[in-house]
Amino acid sequence: MTERAKTASAPPTARAIQPEPRPEPHDLRAPLWVVRGRMDRGRYIAFALASFFGLLILWELVAAAGTINPLFLPGPLAVVRALIAWWQSGDLWADIGISVWRVMAGFALSAVIAVPLGLYIGAYQPVRALFEPIMEFARYLPAVAFVPLVLLWFGLGESAKISLIWIGTFFQMVLMISEDTSRVPMAQIEAARTLGASNSEIVRLVLFRSAMPAMLDTLRITLGFAWTYLVVAELIAANSGLGFAILQAQRYLQTDKIFVGIMLIGIIGLITDQVLRRLHKFLFPWLP
């Protein structure tokens, strides 16, 4: 009490030797360089765009410097010209269309089997014992090495491409879906059981519903695998599609067209990924 009174009535000279108060930091936003720090959306987009355009400018500079033969590295403008030429030739949409169709067919065929199988592997130990070790083994079989077999079995038709995409995605997908199912909290299952749920009700009403968002994520990730194997399939045995166009371009040394093909696949992948992310938010508004 007396201490405080003394400090309050201290003479002005005592106050003068106190250090200047630190200036308020005018930027009150969270610092950027903190492990697991925060970043607002605007700055995130700014950084992302900077990296994208930075790469583009770097590419143009290297190409324009003329030290590298344009046959090996065409500049961005050459690539855009190649895209326009492809479009004008009338093949662009047909090539994109057939490739998307193949990916979707192979991917859907995988998903239709992998989702129920993965769900049952995650639900019942006997099903797990029956299928999981086989899937773990099959997952390491190199899909690309199946090309000769696939050609032998299915010839050069559409089924060859679709089955190669299936081989490349199915086994991974089954294991990831079973993992998604295994991660459903035990308390959710046991609560249903004490309320009188049968096994099939637990699978249908709890496991599947609870794992759905994770399953959609798994499908989004494995869709990327499907595109990889599409290109493999089309490089080897096709007369249409983006992968085929890339191979044709290589034969005629149209490096710029190879670039266009690669980027188109990248852009299609990016768009589907964004669509699926939106769908995720729309379908599962209850997620924390």
Partner: protein, 273 residues
Amino acid sequence: MTARVVLQSITKTFPGGFEALAPIDLALEPGSFTGIVGASGCGKSTLLRIIAGLETRSAGRILIDGEPVAGPGRDRTMVFQDYSLYPWLTVMQNIRFCRTLAVHARNATDSDIGDATRRSVALLNLMGLARVEHAYPKQLSGGMRQRVAIARALMAKPAVLLMDEPFGALDAQTREVMHDLILHVKSAEKRTIIFVTHDVEEAIYLADRVVVLAPHPGRIDTIEDIPFTARHRDLRLDPAFLTLKRRITDRIRATAGLSGDLDDLKTLTAPAG
């Protein structure tokens, strides 16, 4: 609506030979509230899970109103500590979850369905959840979530309500509110309740009878009848309450094999020389 629960020589030995429960014999009167406490590893949760049918027993019988039971059943519903709500269902849909199951829909008449609707609304009000009827669990606080879990378990009209540390993840203030809510539920619903907790005070405040389990292997150490009739916040500070709390805590300490740790502590804190 409520049932007499008899446990006859329940034992549990896990594969590998770990003896979790030595023979447990216990009879619970209809409408009674039993608190089970004990040192960690005493098998109190295992015992509750065996009664629920979620864990198999090695020997013994469980009788509900004289009928032996095997496996889980809707006559014994359970409230878990956490993560048991269905996040994709709203509060009301969670409470009514059991109505979507075949066992509850079988032979249901129109009047049953009407009763169920009335009951779900009554439970919603009893638990003070009317305002959040259409909210998803993610929008609720921990205490509110546990209220939904309790309402969901009661919706099945169980003869026995099993609670496994239902407030273990809540903060102290929310817990006290939940305690009074549970006492209110007990008087409104008149179910036989078995409540497992590590919190001695919670057990005394809520239960008619507190069973102390001793570990290695899990067995009944003491049974304390709780004499208090009026349960009110002030009871927690009542000398008789504190004496009882002290006695039960001492039993848990004595059975837990903590004396070694306490001796170590004494040598560490003893004045030098």
